[in-house]
C-alpha cells in the first residue's frame, strides 16, 4: 500500500516538488527513496563540474559582447568550497588587464553550478540586452572560482556605475542548473548582500528567461533613476493574478 491514490498523486501536476510520494509506514517507498539518492548523486557531481570557458566566450561574443576573463584567488575547487574569501577576490594580474570603461559591468561566473551558467547565461542575456537599452553592458567578464562579491571588485576596476552578476546557484536535487542574477549599484569591495537585488532560480521550469530579463531591466532602470540598490529598492510592479477561489 505504498502508492497514493490518484487524487493525491495528481498534486504533482501543479508542482515540481516531491508531493504525492506515497509511504511505506512512515518511510518513503523504495522507488522514491532511490530516485532521491540518484538526484543527490547528480547534484554532488554538478558541484565539482568545471566551466567550459572557451565555449562560453564564443557564445557571449556571438551576442556582440567583448569578452574578458578573470580568475578568483581560489586555486582549486576544494579550496573554493571552504574559502569564500578567496572566491570574492580577483587575481591581481587578471584585474589589472581590465579596461576602465564605465557603464554597466557584467560578470558571468561559475559559482556553485557551472552547468547553470553554461546553459542559461547566454539565453538570458539574449532576452535582457535589448530591454536594457543604453544601460546594456558592452563587455562580459567570465569569472572562474567566483563568488557573487567578486563582481564588486570587477565593477570597481571597470569604473562601472552598476554591476550585473550572473552566477550558478548551489544545485538542488530537481534543479542542478539554477542561475542567479545579482545587481549592485556603485560596486566596490565591502558591499553587503542587503545592498544588492537578486533574481533567483532562472532556468526553464523555474523563472523563465523573458520574465527574468524583464525584472532585470526594471531593476537596472530603477537603480539608475534612484541611484541605489538593495532592500531600499523593491520590485513594486503589480503581481500576476492570484489563484481563483
Amino acid at each position: 500500500m505504498a502508492e497514493p491514490p490518484s487524487a493525491w498523486r495528481d498534486l504533482r501536476r501543479f508542482t515540481a516538488a516531491r508531493v504525492g510520494l506515497g509511504r511505506s509506514g512512515n518511510g518513503l517507498p523504495t522507488r522514491v527513496h532511490l530516485a532521491f539518492q540518484a538526484a543527490h548523486a547528480l547534484a554532488r557531481d554538478a558541484v565539482h563540474a568545471p566551466l567550459d570557458t572557451d565555449a562560453l566566450a564564443r557564445d557571449l561574443a556571438g551576442l556582440g559582447l567583448a569578452v574578458s576573463s578573470v580568475r578568483s584567488r581560489a586555486p582549486d575547487r576544494a579550496t573554493y568550497l571552504l574559502r569564500p574569501d578567496l572566491g570574492r577576490a580577483g587575481n591581481a594580474d587578471d584585474l589589472a588587464a581590465l579596461p576602465r570603461e564605465g557603464g554597466t559591468a557584467l560578470m558571468v561566473g561559475d559559482g556553485l553550478s557551472a552547468t547553470a551558467v553554461q546553459r542559461h547565461a547566454v539565453p538570458l542575456l539574449a532576452s535582457a540586452l535589448p530591454l536594457l537599452g543604453e544601460a546594456a553592458p558592452r563587455r562580459a567578464v567570465i569569472a572562474t572560482g567566483a563568488r557573487v562579491a567578486l563582481g564588486d571588485a570587477l565593477g570597481e576596476v571597470l569604473g562601472a556605475e552598476l554591476v550585473i552578476v550572473l552566477i550558478g546557484e548551489r544545485p538542488g536535487l530537481s534543479a542542478p542548473d539554477s542561475l542567479g542574477a545579482y545587481i549592485t549599484w556603485a560596486p566596490r569591495p565591502g558591499r553587503t548582500d542587503a545592498e544588492r537585488n537578486c533574481i533567483s532560480n532562472i532556468r526553464p521550469g523555474g523563472l523563465g528567461f523573458a520574465e527574468a530579463a524583464a525584472t532585470l531591466a526594471w531593476l537596472v532602470a530603477e537603480m539608475r533613476r534612484r541611484r541605489l540598490s538593495g532592500v531600499a529598492l523593491k520590485d513594486e510592479r503589480p503581481a500576476a493574478p492570484s489563484l481563483p477561489g
Binding site: 500500500m1 502508492e3 491514490p5 487524487a7 493525491w8 495528481d10 498534486l11 501536476r13 501543479f14 508542482t15 515540481a16 516538488a17 516531491r18 508531493v19 504525492g20 510520494l21 506515497g22 509511504r23 509506514g25 512512515n26 518511510g27 518513503l28 522514491v32 532521491f36 539518492q37 538526484a39 543527490h40 547534484a43 554538478a46 558541484v47 568550497l81 571552504l82 569564500p84 574569501d85 556553485l112 548551489r170 544545485p171 538542488g172 536535487l173 530537481s174 534543479a175 565591502g190 553587503t192 548582500d193 542587503a194 533567483s200 532560480n201 521550469g205 523555474g206 523593491k234 520590485d235 513594486e236 510592479r237 503589480p238 503581481a239 500576476a240 492570484s242 489563484l243 481563483p244 477561489g245
Partner: protein
Amino acid sequence: MGFAHTLGGTRFAFDTLRDLLAKATPFRSGDALAGVAAGSEAERVAAQHALAELPLTHFLDEAVIPYEEDDVTRLILDGHDRAAFAPVSHLTVGGFRDWLLGEADSAALAALAPGLTPEMVAGVAKIMRIADLVSVAAKCRVTTRFRNTLGLPGTLSVRLQPNDPTDDPRGVAAAVLDGLLLGAGDAVIGVNPATDSVANTIRLLELLDMVRERYDIPTQSCVLAHVTTTISAIEAGAPVDLVFQSIGGTEGVNASFGVSLALLADAREAALSLRRGTVGDNVMYFETGQGSALSAEAHHGVDQQTIEARAYAVARRYEPLLVNSVVGFIGPEYLANGKQITRAGLEDHFCGKLLGLPMGVDVCYTNHADADQDDMDALLTLLGVAGVTYVMGVPGADDVMLNYQSTSFHDALAVRAALGKQPAPEFAAWLDRMGIGASGLAIPPALSPALIGLG
C-alpha cells in the same frame, strides 16, 4: 585579564574572553576561516579547562564585543536580570555544567533564563558532549501561542514549508495540501518567497489565509519576506499572522540583513495591532544560523557559535512564537560536514532553549557540503530526544526553491512515531476531526483539493 592552562607540559594562554571562547570551541570550518580556531587539539582542550574554571560572573564584566560598539552587547548587558541569575551566580562554567546536568529541573531552568547571557550559555555548551546538550535541553520547557499551543511536553511540531520556484499559487497550494495530509503544519505554514516584493508577498499571504480558512486549520501562516516588505503588506491590509526576519548576533550582521532593533520593534507592534492570534500573541518568527556574521564580515573575531547564541538574545526581546537555526544551510565554509552540522544543531537548540526560546531547527544541508540523508536522520532523532519544539516539513526533503535538503513530512512522522510525540493539541484535534491519518493514503472529503482551487 588573561587566562591560561597547562596541558601536556605546554602552557597555553588566552588574552581575552573572546579568544578563550573561540579556542575552546569544538572544531568547525567557519572558525578556521575566520582565523579564530585553536591551533591544535591540545590548545582546544586547554582552553576548555581554562573556561571551566571561569566564574560565571566574569561574563558580566567582560564583553566579547565592546558595549560602546555594538547594540546587541548593550541589549544583553542592559537586559540582564541579576535576581534571576542569583541561583547560579556562585558557579564557574564547569560548575554550571554539573548543575545543569544534575539538580536543575524544568522550573529552575525556566526561572533562570532571564539571568543567563548568551555568552554564558555558549561557553558551557563548549565543554559539553552531544549527550549533555541533549539531556539538558530535554529539561527545558518553553511554550508559545498564536492560534495553537507550541512546545508542550510530549509534542513535536512541524513548519510546513511549501516553497515554489516561481511562487506559483497552485504549486504552493499543492505542497500545503500534501503536507497537511501527512500531519505537518502545526508550527506554521510558512513560504519563502522566490521574489521579495510587496505585491507578491500579499498574493502569497492571501493564498495561505484562504487555505487556512477553507480547511479551518488551527495554525498560523507566514510569508518569509524581509521585515520591511511585511510591514508594507500590513499597511496594505494583508492578512499577516507572523512577522518573519533573519537575524544575527551583532549590530553589523543585522545591518547586513537590512534590520535594526528598532525596526524589529516596529514590526512587532504592527503585527500585534492586527490582533489575529486567538490563543496568544506571540507574533514574531526568527531564523538564525552559525556563520552569518562571518559571511557579513561583522563577527569581531568572535567564534560563530557564540555569535549565534547572541542572536537568541535579540530574538527573545520580541517574544517570538518560533525561532529556528537553519543549521546546515549556509554551506561547508562554516559547517563542512555531517559531524559539524550535527553538533552545531544540538548546540543551537540547547542555547536557544536555555535562553527561553521556542527553539526549532531546520535540519538541513546543501549539495556542496559533505553530508547526506543519514546525517540528517541522526540529527533529527537526536533533536527529537532533546525535545526540539519544531522541525521543517518539506515535500520529499527537497526544497525546489531554495535548493537544499531539509526534513520531510515523512521524516517528521517517523520521529514522532519513534519517540511517541504528538502535534500541538489544537492541531492534533483538527487532524482527528478531518480524518487525516485514519484513512491511510486516501484524501478525506473535507480536504478536497478543489476547495483550494486545485481542480
